[in-house]
Symmetry: C2
Subunit: 165 residues, 2 copies
């Protein structure tokens, strides 16, 4: 594998780390992206990332569980293969919307626990409603994506062309 790709894999590791996931999961994801085969075996991944079987086993379980990779098996072949999950993109975000709701809830709960009605109460109310509201908005936005994605992709591609001329 050429150096640029190896660097890309490490870069993915760092980004995943930053996003609160593990570095190894990022690397595995990056490898699945640039490996230039539709799917690769457990052992190819282990070899590419130079990690132990145990580590790969756990990492791939993570990626599959979070919907970023999918496992597949082929008839007459006992290996497990993995590939980037072609899951509906909106679903990836839908999972994260829960975080907004959780934040909204804890802010409201804090507001309810307060005994004094002050500046901070006002802010807590506002912040809580904001997080509920933005969760709702994101739901709508994702639906829009799913309806209009062809058009949107087209527009972005046109735009990219323009800027590269």
């Amino acid at each position: 594998m050429d150096n640029e790709k190896l660097m890309y894999i490490e870069e993915c590791g760092l980004l995943f780390d930053k996003l609160g996931l593990t570095r190894m999961a990022g690397r595995a994801f990056g490898y699945l992206v640039v490996c230039d085969e539709d799917h690769v075996s457990f052992d190819q991944i282990r070899e590419a990332l130079k990690a132990s079987k145990g580590s790969i086993s756990g990492t791939m379980k993570q990626l599959v569980q979070t919907g970023m990779a999918e496992a597949l098996s082929l008839p007459g072949d006992r290996k497990t293969y993995y590939r980037i999950s072609k899951v509906k993109i909106g679903d990836l975000i839908r999972q994260r919307i829960g975080q907004f709701t959780e934040l909204a809830e804890i802010l409201q709960k804090g507001d309810d626990l307060k005994e004094r009605d002050d500046d901070t109460s006002d802010w807590l109310t506002e912040a809580s409603i904001f997080h509920y509201w933005i969760g709702d908005q994101l739901d709508g936005i994702i639906k829009q994506w799913e309806n209009d994605k062809q058009k949107i992709i087209h527009q972005y591609n046109e735009n990219r062309k323009e800027h590269s001329t």
Copy 2:
């Protein structure tokens, strides 16, 4: 401080942990929320959380730096006080939009590095554009919040009343 509030503080710790921040930062945030004073001193926080000066020093720096708390000093008093930052709510999210852009960029970069044009390429293109697009959408949504927030808050409050009757 009553038990319910102490539990709330720990709950905030767990949530912050889940969101990829530190538990202590969550606790300090929770304390600022429920302490029922507009602002509290470094030492009140240290006492409430039963942590070392060093730990509080670092934690408060974190909270201030991420815009979740603000430090203030009072004339004729050499202590530093902290309170929940009444920062424009939209700004908290604006910071996070960068994450979408970063993801979009790494997906596009991966697509560019690929030598084969396949299913995965299609998905990468789509996923990358989606993340750029949703960043743009969020920008718009936050502007809408800032324009209409009175109305939105009113609506949510009406709604809350209805459901509690």
